[in-house]
Amino acid sequence: MSLLNKLEILADSAKYDVSCASSGTKRNPKGRLGRNTPGGCCHSWSSDGRCISLLKILMSNICIYDCAYCVNRISNDIPRAIFTPDELAGLTVNFYRKNYIEGLFLSSAVTKSPDFTMELLLQTVRLLRKEYRFGGYVHLKLIPGASWELIKEGGRLADRVSVNIELPTRQSLALLAPQKTPDSILRPMKSVGALIQAIRRERKKTKKAPLFSPAGQSTQLIVGATPESDRQIMMLSESLYDNMNLKRVYYSAYVPVNSGRNLPSVSSPPLLREHRLYQADWLIRFYGFSTDEFLDEKNPNLNTDFDPKTDWALKHMETFPVEINRADYPQLLRIPGIGIRSAGKILTLRKVKALRFEDLKKLRIVLKRAQYFITLSGRYFGDEPQNAEKIQARLRIPVQDKKKDSDQLDFFTRDPNRLADELSAITGEL
């Protein structure tokens, strides 16, 4: 089979994984090829509007398992292929030199056995690092069930490692991926998390300590294939951030590729829900929220009409208005429409003067939402009184824009004012 054929098949099989972003790490290569861009870097955007940063590819799509939601499951009749480590390392280096990519995102179906597969992945990365002296970014998928020795070597060679949880609960996992046990996923995650921390501590003392997955670990959850609520999903993410030291949790709207008794029938991926989850994730990671604050037993799902911060604020009018000239950083971040950048600008300017309303405009802070939640030196500037219902009516998405699942894509494409929303769809930034 030609390299081109393999590339086609194995890219096609890899495309559903979304946990694919580079974030610059300081790996100082001894060789002469490669340097990470601090903060990560997109090299292209595919026609679905997603950033291409890494060569996202499977080593092999020949699988011994039969996960219900997956294109590559053993019971599917699809073309199969497997790279040799030489082929894949060569391809990566060629693409890298042309500046198509920032590095490699390597995953695989489980071919023969977890250890066999993991060893193939390692051979590829070893070649890259040792033979090609490749200093670019490598994100390596860990194969659930592979032995700890192999996983450890993976962490030493890669910039980031990850295990995909895919399904948010034990029950769903048992239903749709019966051959993967929660234990085979969580155990390596936990050990890797502990090791990352230990090595970080050591490197604070001496820079000679070897790197171990310096960009941390991440995971992916499929949204909409199983009946979990947003609350269940966010609780899981929160505990992964808190207890397992995860750097990122990615959410992937379920794209139906198979049909099966245990699978829901959906016509298109729940993109709006995915978008809201990313926003909620952002609240947890950067704005100091905990899931309990905005999702509870009674309201276990995120509001589709408002972003989660606005939704929270409307339910907590007692904490507003916030005085822009006095609020501290965490308080500023809780104002709808004020993000990290705006809060930073406010604090900077406050060092030299008391802010007036015009100043906010000059700082180019978008006041569409924020106006209802702030005062400047005691004055309120909102064009509605401080009343949750009135404000809600003002900020609600017009009815004709409200989407059923089927035309959610439109939600992102029709209204040019939604550009900010679209861009934030990638990161969840609010």
Binding site: D12, K15, G34, S44, S46, S47, S53, Y100, K362
Partner: protein, 257 residues
């Protein structure tokens, strides 16, 4: 009569110019690169001769008085391609003499915000091109990439690529400005390079492009097709030398070139 000051287009030139103008009491009418200069009845013209020493001591003065960030902002604005940047930088530095190290805190003052916005735009374009630049391997093994950028970002990205692709000789060609960064595995030199015909590619290059294009088509998820979003991220003006999209979208334009 107040005056328009003309410099030679170099960074040192602009700095010499600023140093001299700021010493005077009267406000200048304009500070321009000689190519952009159009004579006016109402303004005296003064051509400022570039003096390296003077420029250096001025830069040092700015650095000590206002800080490194200010210096970096000035440099990025100098690389920008917008009319009136000379006066913008003048206004900024003049305010800096008054405010010192606090200069960059005055975010709502136009003299500061204009510079910040511009410097951010230049920085953003440079960052973007770190991703969107495409090297093509020529028949003689040299790597060649073309840019069509709004601003003159070569000095910002060349050192980055010297670290990234250190083991090849390469050329990054700013096609609009007929300038290029040349790298010979040791040092970078920026010099004139006229627009030439598309150079001959190596045979490996053609194969590599084919692989990449096919990969690019395969990696998109059909159920999430959203070309409008794609264009938001890569404005059309950057598509020209992008291997993965050039065939389908830009070919018509290319042959008309």
């Amino acid at each position: 009569m107040s005056a328009t000051y003309i410099y030679d287009g170099t960074y040192e030139g602009l700095m010499t110019c600023l140093a001299e103008v700021l010493k005077k009491q009267e406000e200048p009418d304009d500070i321009v690169f000689f190519q952009d200069f159009t004579p006016s009845l109402f303004s005296r013209e003064v051509t400022v001769e570039t003096k390296k020493r003077k420029a250096e001591s001025f830069l040092l003065f700015v650095k000590n008085k206002m800080g490194k960030d200010t210096l970096r902002n000035i440099m990025k604005c100098f690389l920008s391609d917008v009319p009136g940047k000379g006066m913008m930088i003048y206004d900024y530095v003049k305010l800096g003499i008054e405010k010192g190290k606090n200069l960059d805190l005055f975010l709502s003052d136009e003299r500061v915000s204009k510079i910040h916005t511009l410097s951010m735009r230049v920085g953003r374009e440079a960052h973007r091109m770190k991703g969107l630049l495409r090297f093509k391997e020529l028949f003689d093994g040299v790597y060649y990439a073309r840019l069509y950028t709004d601003h003159f970002i070569l000095p910002l990205i060349a050192p980055f690529f010297a670290g990234r692709l250190a083991d090849r000789c390469w050329i990054i060609h700013d096609y609009k400005r007929s300038r290029a960064a040349f790298y010979n595995k040791r040092a970078i030199r920026i010099a004139q390079l006229e627009r030439e015909n598309v150079p001959l590619l190596s045979s490996e290059e053609i194969e590599c492009q084919m692989l990449w294009k096919r990969y690019f088509q395969k990696i998109a998820v059909p159920g999430r097709y959203n070309p409008r979003l794609q264009r938001q991220f890569i404005p059309k003006k950057y598509w020209r030398d992008l291997v993965e999209v050039e065939e389908s979208i830009v070919q018509g334009k290319r042959s008309a070139e």
